[in-house]
């Protein structure tokens, strides 16, 4: 079975399951929108948002919602030990990793498609100022976050305190990604936007993605071997 066929088979299975239960989409969306709403009461005073607050809150919401999505995605695999059956099949382990990553990534992008306009509305953030650049930052930042998160969530699938360990492991590693995302987005949302700076942070995110993806593809097989 080809690499991309395996990726598609696994990602499609996750999407079919999610389309039926909608558990992840609803819980993650509800959580992300709640986070944005709560922050809006603190950081929007008399209709004016604090400088750079929108970018920070957008990325904090993405990180929190992404952690929730990662945990639940692998909880499904754990419940009936289905990941074991997938690992027993004669497919390349990196293809299994990418398949799971694609499912998580698509879910997170759907959440972002909803919360980004909500942030724009509540924090008066100009999300239409450089839409392609903003989408680029969101997609690359989310890819890096999901790449690390998918690896850790798979590694922790048998750990008893996996719900606690996942954010403890994930956030320190992904801090550079979140900082790059926040600074790049803030450069777009600023009163005096600096798109060159945003592009520089985008390039940084692409670099992080390449590093994280390479490392994750390299170690997924060995760490799932036990």
């Amino acid at each position: 079975m080809g690499f991309f066929h395996t990726v598609w088979t696994i990602a499609r299975k996750d999407l079919v399951i999610e389309s039926r239960s909608r558990e992840l989409a609803y819980t993650t969306l509800f959580f992300a929108v709640s986070v944005v709403l709560v922050f809006s009461f603190s950081f929007v005073v008399e209709g004016v948002a604090l400088t750079d607050a929108a970018a920070g809150i957008l990325w904090v919401s993405i990180a929190f919602a992404g952690t929730l999505a990662l945990g639940r995605t692998f909880e499904r695999e754990r419940q009936s030990d289905t990941l074991k059956a997938v690992l027993l099949s004669p497919v390349e382990r990196p293809a299994i990793y990418i398949g799971k990553l694609v499912g998580v990534l698509l879910l997170m992008l759907v959440v972002e498609a909803v919360i980004t306009p909500v942030v724009g509305l509540l924090f008066q953030a100009p999300i239409d100022r450089a839409p392609l650049l903003l989408v680029g930052l969101l997609v690359t930042g989310t890819l890096g976050f999901a790449a690390v998160g998918t690896l850790f969530a798979a590694m922790l699938i048998r750990a008893q305190s996996r719900d606690v360990l996942l954010p403890v492991l994930l956030y320190p590693i992904t801090i550079p990604l979140v900082i790059a995302g926040v600074r790049g987005t803030a450069a777009i949302f600023a009163a005096e936007p600096n798109l060159a700076v945003a592009q520089a942070w985008l390039a940084m995110l692409v670099f992080f993605d390449a590093v994280f993806l390479t490392l994750a593809l390299w170690v997924f097989g060995p760490v799932m071997g036990e």
Binding site: M1, T9, S80, P90, E92, E226
Partner: protein, 252 residues
């Protein structure tokens, strides 16, 4: 890696490479979890056309041995050879020749019975997938529930489906951990017949179970496992359960 040519390779699996083997050798295998010893210097040989029974108390090491045979777990010492091959030299291809039914049934509750089989069939790269799925559903006697989500199935129905899922790719080595769990008498008899068919077709079956009465009807050789060590179940008079107890009393 070895190219598929011979009659013993699963005929419907479209992998570019696969492995052939008629015997599985477990050579002085040990496995430790930290300081706890799960298996200690286990040696056994299972051959084609044979059903090998593993019996022992809970936590004796049966499931660990099955996990090692399935390639999911690496031994801490010793090794396993599948014919002339090892996990190291055959990689992913070897797993295409192994079917595993574990404690957990490895079925997605939000997918239907048919979708579960289709999904795993695709991962194994099977040809004639729809025909194989239909046959497997018929053998599991679940044709009328094929399009129901498995989350709504009883344990017994899921057990039947999981057994057919493990055999969907016609593996050379079949590893069964408590295959009779949750099965009613009829289903257990069907499973016994299915195991006899597998034996007659030259598969290697290794089965861990506590169900002596049912297993006695099919196993060729039996091994007693306790605290990570193994002893052949004594031959002679008496039922399998009696001989197992005698072995435990004498050896352990």
């Amino acid at each position: 890696m070895v190219r598929v040519d011979g009659p013993s390779a699963s005929p419907g699996v479209r992998h570019r490479v696969s492995v052939q083997f008629d015997t599985v050798y477990v050579d002085n295998v040990s496995r430790h979890y930290g300081r706890r010893r799960a298996l200690a210097h286990v040696t056994l040989q299972a051959q084609q056309g044979e059903i090998f029974g593993l019996f022992g108390p809970n936590g004796a090491g049966k499931s660990t041995l099955i996990s090692i045979l399935s390639t999911l777990l690496r031994p801490s010492g010793g090794g396993v050879r599948y014919g002339a091959h090892t996990v190291a030299d055959t990689g992913d291809a070897l797993r295409g020749q192994i079917g595993v039914l574990g404690h957990d049934l490895c079925l997605y509750g939000d997918l239907t019975a048919r979708e579960n089989l289709r999904f795993f069939g695709r991962l194994y790269g099977l040809d004639r997938l729809e025909a194989r799925v239909t046959d497997a559903l018929a053998r599991a006697r679940l044709s009328d529930r094929a399009d129901d989500r498995t989350g709504s199935f009883s344990r017994g129905l899921r057990q039947r489906l999981a057994f057919e899922r493990a055999l969907l790719h016609d593996p050379r080595l079949v590893l069964l951990d408590e295959p009779f769990t949750g099965l009613d008498d009829d289903s257990a008899q069907v499973l016994i017949e299915r195991l006899r068919t597998l034996r007659a077709a030259g598969h290697i079956v290794v089965m861990a179970t506590h169900d002596f009465d049912t297993a006695e009807a099919v196993v060729n050789r039996s091994l007693c496992v306790d605290r990570g060590r193994t002893w052949p179940v004594a031959d002679g008079v008496g039922t399998l359960r009696e001989r197992y107890r005698r072995t435990l009393a004498e050896c352990v």
